[in-house]
Amino acid sequence: MGAEDAYPFRGLRVLDFGVGAVGVEVGRLFAEYGADVIKVESQARPDFMRALTPAWMNPAFASSSRSKRSFAVDLSSERGVGLLHQLVRVSDVVVDNNGAGVMEKLGVGYEALRATNPRIVVFTSQMVGGQGPWSRWIGYGPSTHPVSGLQYLWNYPEDAERPAGSVNIFPDHLVGRIGALAAVAALIQRERSGRGCKIDAAQFETPINLLGDLFALEELAPGSLRPAGNRSPRGAPWGIYRCAGPDEWCAINVRSDAEWEALRRALGSPDWSGRPEYRTASGRLAHQDELDARLGEWTADRTPQEVAQRLQAEGVPAGDVQHAAHQLADPQLAARGYARVVDQPGVGGMVFEGPSFRGTDLPEPIIGPAPLLGQHTREVARELLGLSEPEIDALVAEGVLEEARPFEGAPGWGQA
């Protein structure tokens, strides 16, 4: 290579068998920093996120599969598996979050991959892990909430027997980041050892590990762990308050007596706030209901952004409860250049999420469109498998390789 390329992963190749979010996000993070990330799919086994909409392209899929290539191959054929192993020989990382046993059945389980390339780093992740009596259980991010304690604890304390639930797919995106960091650690080790390894992250164990102190408490004092809702023993007032506008809310956390005094200043020191019992944290914690009612009256007439500005000006932690429309208008995200506009074939102009981190020796992440299924089959077959055009034509005709089908008409996302 000529001039030094600052992309840290330039020269690495990742085979991405990810579906949904977990594995797909690992691939995304490698692609953004220069790795050649190749989605391995087929008409029969597409990334299900792709297949959620008729044109097999939509914003969510595009975001997570950004900047990748797509190689479509039928892994139910012996020839297809053979070609895949040829790719493994020139790859560094394989990512998978299919159900337990799926990769083995396709002939691309860890042992087979390692036999082909002992330097391969494999990241695999299943909902409840690859081992244990429930390992064959299937599900999605939200399916991990009930079995990790998250569902029970993510609730209003006064209504704990009736689960509130959330439509969030947490921890999928986080497990993707854990997978990426573990894979990079393994690549660092490989520089020394010359060997790859298999990394496994059971999705339901991510929330369990993050809530580990709570589980330890439950073990020491059985029955003590209950949903806490929006309050905290760390201070008061502490919660989510209604603001002006439909379904508009703000978050306020008073962590100290000094912040309480600052909050009073921000509110213009109303009479009700002068009660002596409010001066101490214990006093405020004992009078949370009335404090919340008073503070809620004040916030109800203001937008969440206005509340945040007023309180932050006095040094009180306060912020708006954002949804996507807020994110797009958020001054901080705007100043940081968070929203990235990309022209995505099959969707049109759309916004991708920007990075979570930047560095003085990291270039801007590569944020480009996601591939159509099989968009790069021919190019990958030619460049990496050394196949001639007639050989590729024959494999496509046999159905071993699949090429992208152009969009018919313009069935973009949203026109379903």
Binding site: D200, A216, L217, L328, S356, F357
Partner: protein, 394 residues
Amino acid sequence: MLATPERPLAGLRVLDSADEKGELCGRILADLGARVIRLEPPAGARSRRLPPFAPGRSTSLYFALRNAGKRGITLDFRTPTGALLLHRLLERADAWIETERPGALAACGLDPAELLARHPALVVTSITDFGQDGPYRDWQGTDMLGFAMGGLLHRCGRADRPPVMPPGSLAYDSTGLVAALATLVALYRRLISGRGQHLDVSVLESVANMSDWALPNYSVSQGFQARDGAGFYALYRCADGWVRMVVLVTRHWRALLDWMGSPAELTDPKLDQFLERLVRRAEVEPVIERFFADQKKIDVAREAQRRGIPVTPLLLPAEVLENEHTRARGTFGALAIEPGLEVRFPSGLLQIDEQRVGPRERPPGLGEHNEAVYCGELGLGAGELEALRCQGVV
């Protein structure tokens, strides 16, 4: 018996002065084999005083979970002597994880750019609530603000109630893990460049990146998912609790119909489509509810899963701690976090080559490794260490 294989980051040296925003960063690096020195102010990290506490003790389980496996020293690097000592520690470190407010390091003579000039191979990972620049740079942040402003909270909870926070500190802990990713990307880069760098990690952007594609979707449809309880990730009441069933694809729907004996109310083939079922929820849900009502949650989950339908039982905390699956997997393990106090902590986020990767040692006592690090590694005399202690530097 085979020797325990070397962990991937063996030999890596990390200095960690992070507060709650980044404590899990050093923890996962230590899990992966790095030697992490937790640096606290002489009065102790704030998180030592955060709940939950071990019953009847002042021991913070919050601190213990996030600092297990680290070594611990004290240092006030805001003092001139402390800053000098920090430089000596950084000379021997590959990475420094820090969470000072933007500009605060420069104010005590530790500007990251100057640090890098002096320690060119060092990776400085700075974790802040909103980032090193921008109009909110100096705003106060908390875990709740991160979860709220990052876009996850708005959709959580019932439609007729305020958004409701999840348990724990998921925004801050997730950011710590993102910071670990950033640190390792920079260290991987260093293998080629030989240079370190300064990383800027924010809670706001870390959380926003986990808001389920809300921004990409909105940018095209001008719509967003409103708060709606469990929504189409539905929860059903059983005889002894609840289950969650996520039926998105036709295959799962047909398996469910088959299990229910193809009830007459649900024979319309249009119901094969997810969107159709969503629109006609009022028609569909009662049939399913009746079917599950008199069965036990674990039986429902087992039979559904046997039939290939994604159902999971809602477990109470005690049931998570103790069930056939977590037991078989070793999801939890025992860790003695201080003399006479053994707790059950989750045994780690990862397995590498089938070996669990998690905390191997208890969290450090305050200043527990001062002598080992300052005298044993930096070569200070016992008298010098004592003098630093008297000056309040360590």
